[in-house]
């Protein structure tokens, strides 16, 4: 039997990328925004490679996106079960060696559960799921996933989650701030009680980035909120990969 990709629809089939960059999107059971992430990668001009959580290898991709959704239903804790998927061992290993990894929403939650990123995600302080267009400030435009933005730039992309409250102890928070590892901050109101308005962070090396809002939902003028502020994520990684 050949491996059947989870999104076995034509739109998810690998397509040749302009830059020859291959960007993988991992589907866990219960991933929801995997097709959207694949689409965003394609729109940015890279080759989109669907990866399945049980895959034995990463198929030589140059970067990995952990998409949004409710992997394993978010039962137990968001991201807690998928972090033990076979493919995550390779992602963790690769990330430590510099493989660019972007965790969006549930993907961010998986990254904190693996401790590739510090802290943890808790239930929103108002206890509700919240879906809205969210303004963010890009605090760090030097990471693999944000170099197409400028520091201080404000962007709008959709936010949608129930477990989005970023938490870490004071020492960790201070460290993140001091090292410039807070990548995104909520502006115009904190939507969930995240400490220090943190919406996204990076590891020390800048190759692993996680954030709660969804850049992959802001890549076409027609759908979603109608903005394209999310395209910069995918432009950033392409720039990074091409210049590498």
């Amino acid at each position: 039997m050949t491996r059947t990709s989870p999104a076995s629809t034509p739109d998810a089939a690998p397509t040749g990328g302009l830059a020859g960059a291959r960007i993988g999107v991992i589907t866990f059971p219960g991933s929801l925004d995997d097709r959207d992430a694949l689409r965003a990668v394609r729109l940015a001009g890279a080759e989109a490679v669907p990866l399945w959580h049980r895959d034995p290898d990463l198929q030589r991709v140059d970067a990995v996106v952990l998409p949004g959704g409710f992997s394993y239903g978010d039962y137990l804790r968001a991201g807690a079960i998928s972090r033990f998927s076979p493919i995550m061992d390779m992602v963790i290993e690769g990330a430590k060696e510099g493989l660019p990894v972007l965790g969006i929403c549930n993907g961010f939650q998986v990254l904190t559960e693996t401790h590739l990123l510090p802290g943890a995600m808790l239930r929103n302080n108002h206890l509700h799921f919240i879906c809205r267009d969210q303004r963010l400030r890009v605090e760090n435009a030097d990471t693999a996933w944000t170099n197409a933005y400028t520091a201080g730039q404000e962007i709008s992309i959709p936010l949608k989650n129930i477990d989005g409250r970023y938490t870490a102890d004071e020492r960790t928070l201070d460290e993140l701030e001091a090292e410039g590892r807070v990548v995104f901050r909520y502006v115009d109101g904190n939507p969930n009680g995240s400490l220090r308005d943190i919406a996204g962070i990076t590891n020390a090396a800048g190759n692993v980035v996680g954030l709660m809002p969804h850049p992959e939902h802001a890549v076409e003028p027609l759908v979603g909120t109608g903005g394209t502020d999310g395209l910069g994520f995918f432009a950033s990684i392409l720039k990074k990969l091409v210049s590498a």
């Binding site: 239903g73 039962y75 137990l76 079960i81 033990f84």
Partner: protein
Amino acid sequence: MARVVVDVMLKPEILDPQGQAVQRALPRLGFEGILDVRQGKRFELEVEGPVDDDALARIHKIAESFLANTVIEDFVVKVES
């Protein structure tokens, strides 16, 4: 001040998707020999004054009318020593 604990669990006949998800994950993590997992809620209440029969009766009421959804959940009230 004393602590009273209310444990709320889904009734045995009710589907517990969360517990099932945990149980199914365990063998993958290398843990065998866990036959069943149920996941419920634990409430820790700090009570003002003595935890006498009257207080316990009130907490029972709270548990029954509010902390537990007795359509699908059972609960137990315990005084923590």
